[in-house]
Each structure stands twice: as structure tokens, then as C-alpha cells.
């Protein structure tokens, strides 16, 4: 059992300098850190980023939102955000119970990269970008290109996620998040669907984003469907949604449900999510 080192910097530069020279495991809320190691000793060196003030908090400016990496889900739930973020708030309330929402962070949910992460579909539908910093510079990556697979992300070992950015949606756009689990509370999802819809003055779909989680290693945007329904009335758009729109999903059979069940549930939830997001 190797000795574990623990570092808790208060400035971003300190954290980046550390990451540039040593393989640290970045820790924030830690809600899946120890529970993911039951029966195994903690043998990694831990970089606790929760005391870096710059990484915490939410700023809203002209419809654009910057969510600091270590913002907790409880902080997100109580923040004033545009209506299109209602789905993200609904997803935040599904992240474990209150104790987990008090500790778990937005960027931690993304970096942990669980296929069943509640935060990912809602942030994907919002078109979130992940801001990464390292000793050699900064970059922004679309969330869809950041989460690469189960427990895999595009973050290099020397990089730290500092924020998640949401670009503005039209005024009046609405977001929803629907989660199917085996009971109401505290469950790992069978299927999750997040949708954001903006309508034009005639009540037709001007912009639509739909993401499905827990039906593939990484939550997927349904880009074909999103493009096809633009210009349609919501009712005709919903009537036209079929399994052909879900071909990018690759659900698995597991203890929570069969692949066929997940596919069927996803189709129903996609229709419901778009209907709710298109209802002012």
C-alpha cells in the first residue's frame, strides 16, 4: 500500500503547476471517489480543488452562463438561470439525494464520465462547452467531444476543468429533463432524456436539441431528429418521431432493463420531452 499524498491548493496556478509535474487524481465533492473503491485501498495521490475560489459559482450574462467547475448541484438548483436551464435544474435534483447534491460538483459529474451521469444529457442538450486549463494554455471543448466513453474524457493529465459554459438560447426557449428509474428516488437511470425547444412567432419549432443518456456509453444528441423538426408544429414533429431517429443509441441488457425496453422507453421519453419543452 503506497502512501497517499494530499494537496489542497487555493490558487488555480498552484493546481496547474502540480498537475504538470505529477499524476494527481483530481478530487472535488468526492461522492463517487471512495464509494467507487469499496474494498480497495485508496492508493492515489489526491489533488483537492474545492478551495480554489475561482472555480466556484455561477455567472449569467446576456443569456450566457458560466458554471464554475466546483459549483455544487445544490448551488445550481438555487441559482437564477434562464428558463432553458429548467431541465438542467431538474437533472440536478436527480443527482443522488440532498447530501450528494451538497457535495457533488458539476464538473465532477462530467469528469467522472459515468454513462448514467444525470448531468450529462441536460448539459449536452444545452450545447455546453468545457473550459480546460493547463500550464501551457487553455482550450474549450464541446461536451459531446469531451466525454469519450465510460469513465473516459478528453482531459489530459496536466489539465483541469475550470468551468462549463452555456451559450444563449432564444428568449422563451424551454428545457426539460425526464428520467426513468425503477423507483422515484435515488436510483441509477434506465433512460434519461433532456430536450430544449425554442418556438418561432407562429408556434413552429425554431431550434431543438435532444440528448439521451444511459442508452449508450456516452449520452448522445439526436442531431438528425433535431434538424428534421425545425419548421414543424410541435404536434406534427412529435407524431413523426420513430425508432429511425434513435439509431445512434446502443443500449445494453443489464439488471435494470433489456436493450429493447430501453429503446422503447427512450422513444416514449423523447416524444414526451419535446412535447413538454414545446409547451410554453
Amino acid at each position: 500500500m503506497s502512501a497517499t499524498r494530499y494537496l489542497r491548493p487555493t490558487h488555480l496556478e498552484e493546481a496547474l503547476a502540480a498537475l504538470g509535474t505529477h499524476p494527481w487524481t483530481v478530487l472535488a465533492g468526492g461522492t463517487d471517489f471512495y464509494p467507487g473503491r469499496v474494498g480497495k485501498p485508496v492508493d492515489v495521490d489526491v489533488l483537492d480543488v474545492t478551495r480554489i475560489a475561482d472555480l466556484r459559482g455561477i455567472q449569467v450574462a446576456g443569456g450566457a452562463v458560466r458554471i464554475g467547475a466546483t459549483t455544487t448541484w445544490s448551488e445550481l438548483i438555487t441559482a437564477r438561470l434562464p428558463n432553458v436551464c429548467a431541465g438542467l435544474k431538474a437533472a440536478a435534483r436527480e443527482v443522488g439525494g440532498v447530501q450528494i447534491q451538497n457535495a457533488g460538483t458539476v464538473a465532477g459529474n462530467l469528469c467522472n464520465a459515468s454513462p448514467a451521469a444525470d448531468g450529462v444529457p441536460a448539459l449536452l442538450a444545452l450545447g455546453a462547452e468545457v473550459e480546460l486549463h493547463s500550464g501551457s494554455g487553455a482550450r474549450r471543448v464541446n461536451l459531446g467531444e469531451f466525454v469519450l466513453g465510460s469513465r473516459r474524457t478528453a482531459r489530459r493529465p496536466d489539465e483541469l476543468v475550470v468551468a462549463v459554459h452555456l451559450t444563449p438560447w432564444p428568449e422563451g426557449a424551454k428545457g426539460v429533463f425526464l428520467k426513468l428509474g425503477h423507483r422515484r428516488y435515488l436510483v441509477i437511470s434506465v433512460v434519461m432524456v433532456a430536450a430544449c425547444v425554442a418556438l418561432d412567432a407562429a408556434g413552429r419549432i425554431a431550434r431543438c436539441a435532444v440528448a439521451v443518456g444511459a442508452c449508450s456509453a456516452v449520452a448522445q444528441r439526436l442531431s438528425g431528429l433535431e434538424a428534421r423538426v425545425v419548421g414543424m408544429r410541435p404536434d406534427e414533429a412529435i407524431a413523426g418521431i420513430t425508432n429511425a431517429d434513435l439509431t445512434c443509441l446502443t443500449p445494453i441488457d443489464d439488471v435494470r432493463g433489456s436493450a429493447a425496453y430501453r429503446r422503447d422507453a427512450a422513444l416514449t421519453l423523447v416524444r414526451q420531452a419535446i412535447e413538454q419543452a414545446a409547451t410554453p
Binding site: 478530487l27 445544490s74 439525494g97 457535495a103
Partner: protein, 154 residues
Amino acid sequence: MTTESISLTVNGQPRRMDIDPRTLLVQLIRDHLGLTGTHVGCDTAQCGACTVHVDGRAVKSCSILALQADGTEVTTIEGLATGDELHPMQQAFRDCHGLQCGYCTPGMVMSAIELLKHNPQPSEQQIREGLEGNICRCTGYQNIVKAVQQAAGA
């Protein structure tokens, strides 16, 4: 073994010690400080028996490292009563018999206090939602909900 020093306030008392960095907050509370009122049920951040308050917010002490609580104020179930006078939430659990085996009770009480702090007059549904992170395998939650309702009315 490398150690790190930690200073925190537990139930109003300043504490300073040197610990293995891998020590969980619940291990510090139970094994180092001997405050065994905080229980470990599942060890995987599901059951909520280990719930304590860190700077006034309920967290599961089995899922955070003790060092993450450095510099904070921690309150455990032992820190609620004033002398022989129970905290209103403890009294309500006693009056309503909001327990059977009692294993989940410390965590339930800590979560229920957080719930009323943010929502002093919760509906029955809001109480059930607010306690979703705490699992009780005995009571069916009926008397737990009644206890929180009594404490909210007190």
C-alpha cells in the same frame, strides 16, 4: 505512513490532529474522536446513516475525506442536544417513535434538520423528497414523516 495535520471544530470544540490522508470523515468522527452516534450503514454513499453537517450543509461523511473538512465546523448527532434537553427534531422523533431499530436515526435527524432549515413548512411530499438520501428499512417512513411534521410545527 505520511500524515497531514487537520484542524476543525466538531460540535463546538476545536480539534487538531495528524491523520493519514486516506482517513474518511466518518472514520475521524467515530474512530479518532469516539463519537459513535454517526453510523456507517452502506459505506457507499447510498443509505445516509453517516449524515453530518459540514458548515451547516448535510453531507455523507462516508464519502468525503476528513482532510476535505479541514477548517470547517462539523456537527454530529451528539452536538444537537443542549445538556439534557433534546433538539426539537430529536424530541419529535422520540415523541412520534420515528424509528424502530434506530440505525438510520442519527442520519435521518441530521437530514431532517437541514430540510427544515431550507423549507420550514414542508408538505408531506416535500419531507419525503427531502429525505430521499436516507434509507430506513424498518419503519416504512410513516412515523419519520410525522416526526418531521411535528418538528416543523414546534
